[in-house]
Homo-oligomer: 207 residues x 2
């Protein structure tokens, strides 16, 4: 199983080299994120690929994560703060267009999606953030398959990032960062550490 | 890129055949989940592999997801409701043991993990659930790589499942289900539908 090797290869890189990820590889990672599963297929999040060093410097100030500025690229996953009727309408139209079917054929599905409109923004944001994390899981694997290193980061100044990217105006809130690049194996003490994982029987129970 | 093919192959199966997933393949999926990335490496969730048909029948009653009972196996991802000092202690001991280092070498890391103890249970549960979703993303890919079909399901009776499995007593709460098995391509109208995804430039913005 290739995936097992890929997952064993990856770790949260602390120290990156100067090597840049090519645009071709970057596009493959974005494509994998786009193919990630999401609840009802809604993809209720957006990805921001930050290369701009000034922006990363501002975001990285006072952060305990040098990876924000030192990696090749910084990916920010931002989830929608709520689900609106417009989002549902657009999504339904997009399905009809993609599958070349009359939009009326989706009436039942559209009604089912009304479920989201009956929830609080908080409930919908918990949901949309979780979908972004499925995509994060995919991105980690996509990068590792390309032998590109990554560091997922939750401890960042989300408010500052949201301001810098104008996310609130777009109805989005950043939830997690992923730096990508290439490990500096000599300078990263974590590169050679043994991976720590639960015994399989502690993680999983068969019932 | 193999992953892209794998992701294109998968869809949320509505109708399963009777074919069972072998124990060997099941173990590979569990292993992949165990190798998933998680914040600080904490793995703050557990996996329940439900084969028991009576249990699945009870859980599937009044559900709009026949996949709960009709698939080969049902995986339930359950996240810890909070982070306790005991969890941190155990984790630190486990790292020391795995890496064969004196536990004192981890003092600084242990202090850093104290961060979780200063948060509310609600904040920690939002966090632990998100980690479970990274693992869900990995499980989807692990299964698809083995040509095993899946259906992630959020709309289930979590309270009932928690009662059936005694999760609350373990400090856990179920967050998402994943049925696994083999698609019944003839009877599943969704098997041949075109995958609907955002144009890449709508999903991702380069800044």
């Amino acid at each position: 199983m290739e995936l097992q090797k890929t997952l064993n290869w990856r770790y949260a890189v602390k120290k990156y080299s100067d090597r840049k990820v090519t645009d071709n590889d970057l596009q493959k990672i974005i494509e994998a994120v786009n193919l990630s599963a999401s609840s009802a297929g809604m993809q209720p999040y957006r990805l921001f690929v930050i290369e701009n060093s000034q922006l990363r410097k501002e975001l990285g100030a006072n952060s305990f994560n040098p990876q924000i500025t030192e990696s090749s690229h910084l990916l920010a996953f931002a989830a929608y703060e709520n689900v609106t009727p417009e989002m549902i309408n657009e999504y339904i139209l997009h399905i009809a267009e993609t599958r070349a079917i009359p939009v009326e054929q989706l009436d039942e599905f559209k009604t089912a999606l009304g479920f989201f409109l009956g929830r609080t923004p908080e409930e919908n944001f918990i949901w949309s953030s979780r979908q972004a994390y499925i995509a994060l899981g995919t991105a980690l694997i996509a990068a590792a398959e390309l032998k590109i290193d990554t560091t997922p980061m939750e401890g960042f100044n989300a408010q500052k990032l949201d301001e810098l990217l104008g996310l609130h105006e777009k109805g989005l809130k950043s939830v997690v960062l992923l730096s990508i690049g290439y490990r500096d194996e000599e300078k990263d003490a974590f590169a050679k550490l043994k991976k720590v994982r639960l015994p399989k029987e502690v993680l999983a129970t068969v019932v």
